[in-house]
Subunit: 483 residues, 2 copies
């Protein structure tokens, strides 16, 4: 795919189609666009450049005449030549490099969501991050002023994290029942990096990861990208069904279990206290380590969730993962892993080789939020805002979705997991919703079994768009049911 | 290895050895320290806890009597049991997880340097980062105030980088002869992450990377960790010997060439303009892509270096890598890759799966530095400071090293590459220097062929320590020659 962030200038004294021809040549000549890659369709180009279709036709004809583009119809138009014919066979075959790299690319629907999520004109019922309305702008200013005052240098820090932030995180963890010294805490660039480091540092290729089904898409992706197998265990309303684990272990010989015990992504299920005890007991017996992804813990609406599994882990069985991405803002890219020191040291070693540690500026900023108590205050505020958003969403669902779907009311977190009463093509629904300007996460990106479900996030879109989006979506679904 | 960040309290009404026993139990019981791992020697423990050796002996005897520790003498003392006997065989075998992960750990000397580099009491002739004396504290305050004013949200950004920073980098690149649109720029968390992404996204396991010999240790490490082969090409005083490349291609069938053309790490050699042209010509002919690691470019002392290889690349052959880590501060963790758009898109896709993008706060901060022109001002300042540091270093070498070593005077960058006239054991030198409190990079970490060389950085240590460190080091070397 080619990205175009330019438009021809209608005020210039030069025909638009010539401007476009020159733009193409510059891109291809500079090597930014490579031989063999497809260009967008004429219709797409007309939209991107904001010109008539006929202008595009003229430009493409010219480029074809010069031997720069080739092809048409279903196969599309592709770049065939460099502007200078002498250079035409000099380019490295980047396409084969891309196809053959170690890392497996993101799947198509996810890529599409990722691209569209940066478009302002969509109603984003998809996005799992706090709305800009929830961003604590004034407090962040206060914190940044503190940061500016205290900052003597921003040198390379220990790749495992600054001692200052690790100490602050250690203090914070005590408030949720986890006693961890700074040496057993690794600072990471978000929970996703935690999964990446754990996968690279502790698991072998072909290892099996046990996890809830459905589970967080990007964690799934990381395991998949690094050639891990995944085996999904069903959940009931108390969380993952721990009693099934011994059977899964016999069948799949897993290396680790991955769980999101609080306001699970995407189902919003909270694991009960009883289930947590059952889970740790069975995993202890089987010596199966646990990754506890607890990034939603603080986002409770009705009542605080049970203590972390880590808090009842007396054997270093649990790698506990937390972050400020869901509570404060994702852009700081700060999270943490708590675990046995040799494990933390090993992961820190890979972290060093991956990015030489997380941004010191971000670390200092998060440390200040924790130390000053402004973080605790902000959590109260975000909880009350999420309560409003959850209630608006459930009301809208009651009004528009009662006949066509079922759902549980989430007691915290960001998501409502909706299951349709009728079988409609979910790929179709996703595509049609996109066309209407509504983004959502269809169930099939989690697992083929959830082809009749979808995840709605109430954390991101402005409140009026939540309502509007759900209304439009319900009409679309009813329309698809009718067809 | 076990980390200890605690000391017994001499004011407490409890014997020190009992405090130590309780500390060990707490660590082991909580799972932070695992069965099978070694504890430090008695001498080390005495130092760490700041107590007499006899106190350590009492504590260890007690722990052995309780069946928690085992062993002594050469094999060392290790943790054998959990405090609660019932739990003893519940722990997962983390050691085997660590040993069998995909990623290959850092080699021993490098690990030692990494650990010691965070100790304040060493003279660090090793560290390749700007001294805190060079940190632009006042201007950073101005910038952070601007950042605080402008900041509306710190949400997830495009994983490829914020459009704002990519535009600023695009503008900056023009000043060094590179014309790249924002779409062909990927923001990364430092140049090291660039290498990681390129390796994971474009190279197959077992691929061969051609590079200068010697070359940047951490890039070497990344290639090695991801199972790439490396093949080093010799350099002369104009840079890597491009005329040898066709032979190397025949022999090793490399996938890519990695070069640091300016103030090369560790040799400080600058590739001549003629050699750059020769290099691009031969790589074009062989269709061999180039990674141009140009993080030292702006740190010229005597005269600006020739234009980047990327500036004479008309075919998208070169992936150009830059960063502010060496010029401004490493703690922001911001760098960039410039390349053909499909390549950038692929790398952005992996970046997304790795850490979901670099810190937005850091990106905004670096964007402001570039936009306001304060970056350009700061570069002038750092150049004049580096001139002083280079001159002090060369003067000290002339005084102390004339009889025992040779070197070229660097025309920029951070390093002097010193080759000893006499064969002494370099492992010995490294260890003895460590004991004297001096850190340096021995040549053997780059390649066994450079067992008689060492890299001295003049960027980091306070100026008086540069002098002192070099004097002491020269005395040590003379002593080792005499032995």
């Amino acid at each position: 795919m080619i990205n175009i962030d330019w438009k021809p200038d209608k005020n210039l004294n030069k025909p638009l189609y010539i401007q476009i021809v020159e733009y193409f040549k510059e891109k291809i000549n500079g090597g930014e666009w490579q031989v063999g890659f497809m260009i967008p369709t004429q219709r797409e180009l007309a939209k991107i450049f904001n010109v008539n279709r006929s202008t595009i036709v003229s430009a493409i004809d010219e480029l074809k005449a010069e031997g720069i583009l080739e092809g048409k119809g279903k196969g599309g138009t592709k770049i065939v030549n460099n502007v200078s014919p002498l250079l035409s066979n000099i380019q490295p075959d980047w396409k084969s490099y891309i196809d053959e790299g170690i890392h497996i690319p993101n799947v198509k629907t996810i890529k599409k969501i990722n691209t569209l999520e940066f478009r302002e004109d969509y109603i984003r019922l998809s996005t799992g991050e706090p709305s800009s309305e929830l961003f604590p702008k004034e407090d962040m200013k206060i914190i940044l002023n503190e940061v500016a005052k205290d900052m003597d240098n921003l040198g390379y820090e220990s790749p495992s994290g600054t001692m200052y932030l690790r100490q602050q995180v250690s203090n914070y963890l005590k408030t949720i029942g986890i006693y961890a010294s700074p040496g057993s805490i690794l600072i990471v660039s978000g929970a996703l990096q935690a999964m990446q480091l754990i996968s690279m540092g502790l698991l072998q290729k072909g290892s099996t990861v046990l996890l809830e089904n459905p589970s967080y898409m990007y964690s799934l992706q990381i395991f998949q990208s690094l050639d891990m197998r995944r085996s999904g265990i069903p959940m009931d309303n108390e969380g993952v069904m721990a009693n099934l684990i011994p059977d899964y272990i016999k069948k799949h010989v897993p290396s680790i279990l991955y769980t999101i015990p609080n306001f699970q992504n995407p189902t919003s299920i909270v694991m009960s206290e009883k289930r947590r005890k059952e889970l740790i007991k069975v995993c202890q017996k089987e010596k199966l380590p646990i990754i506890e992804d607890d990034v939603y813990r603080e986002l409770w609406i009705d009542a605080p969730p049970p203590d972390p599994i880590k808090s009842i882990d007396t054997n270093g069985l649990v790698l506990y993962v937390g972050s400020v991405s869901k509570t404060l803002c994702p852009g700081l890219r700060i999270g943490w892993i708590v675990g046995p020191e040799p494990v933390i040291e090993r992961l820190g070693d890979i972290k060093m080789q991956t990015d030489y540690g997380s941004s010191s500026l971000s670390q200092l900023t998060v440390g200040k939020w924790l130390e000053t108590g402004l973080y605790e205050n902000h959590l109260k505020e975000i909880r009350s805002q999420l309560t409003i958003r959850r209630d608006v969403t459930i009301n809208a669902l009651n009004r528009y979705f009662k006949d066509i779907a079922t759902w549980e009311i989430p007691s915290g977190g960001y998501y409502v997991w909706i299951t349709l009463k009728y079988k409609i093509g979910m790929y179709k629904l996703f595509d049609e919703a996109c066309k209407m300007g509504i983004l959502l996460y269809p169930g099939y990106i989690y697992d083929a079994n959830f082809n009749n479900s979808l995840r709605i996030s109430f954390s991101y879109a402005p409140i009026e768009e939540l309502e509007e989006g759900l209304l439009k979506l319900s009409l679309l679904i009813k329309e698809l049911v009718r067809r």
